[in-house]
Amino acid sequence: MGRWLSFFVVIVIGAVIGLLAGWFLAPGQYLDTSPDTLRVDYQADYVLMVAEAFQNDDNLLLAIERLSFLSESKPQELVRQALLFAEPRYADADLALMRTLSLALQLSEAEAQP
């Protein structure tokens, strides 16, 4: 009985060491991440790219599809978050593009509501 108990105790100790090693010492490769993990400045720049494209093609559905690359959040929310980051940092011309996209999304949502 004592031998079995010791056996299970060392399994638990090994599992704890394994967990700590797997999470902190060797947490796997820093590769193959998904877009929703991108740092906020990269996400904002991606939104700016979508806004630049929207200015060119005026295709809101395509802009929404492109924004969905970043995450499953609502497109309007993604643009709002990007604007929050961009406002103190980006040039006025870029901010204007992002605001135009934001406005178009808001209007589209308002029109969709009964």
């Binding site: 105790v9 399994i11 967990l19 193959d32 877009p35 990269y42 904002a44 700016l48 494209a53 690359f69």
Partner: protein, 134 residues
């Protein structure tokens, strides 16, 4: 009848503990890597999976077609850390054509590739733009 061998029991004791520890380690590592892996946050575009990098690269080419700002496009491409950005762009365009994908998207990628090829200095040491930096 053989007499008990205390040394042999001691050796068995050591090995079963080591076996238990190894089983535990394997279980712990499997859980940490496969079941509940570390979720990274604040990652750079270079760490994206291949399909996402393709999508990001495509968006750079589409934005370039819209604003015609080659410096900005090259700064963005640098974030992907492609070994050869020209090859990455043309390769992606060729894959799209081979899969009978969007001709327009292939054109965007090719246009940016051509512009980069004509301005090789863009991938020399950095110039100032407002695109994010690592």
């Amino acid at each position: 009848m053989n007499a008990p061998n205390p040394g042999r029991y001691e050796a068995r004791g050591f090995w079963y503990l080591l076996t238990g520890l190894l089983i535990g380690l394997i279980l712990g590592l499997a859980y940490a890597w496969l079941v509940q892996p570390v979720r990274y946050v604040d990652t750079p575009p270079a760490s994206l999976k291949v399909e996402s990098k393709d999508q990001y690269r495509m968006m750079i080419a589409i934005a370039y077609a819209a604003d015609n700002d080659l410096v900005r496009a090259s700064e963005r491409l640098k974030l992907l850390q492609d070994e050869d950005p020209f090859q990455a762009l043309t390769g992606q365009a060729q894959r799209i054509l081979a899969a009978e994908g969007s001709l327009e998207e292939a054109r965007f990628l090719s246009a940016l590739a051509v512009a980069i090829e004509q301005n090789p200095g863009l991938f020399a040491p950095a110039s100032a733009t407002q695109t994010p930096e690592e």
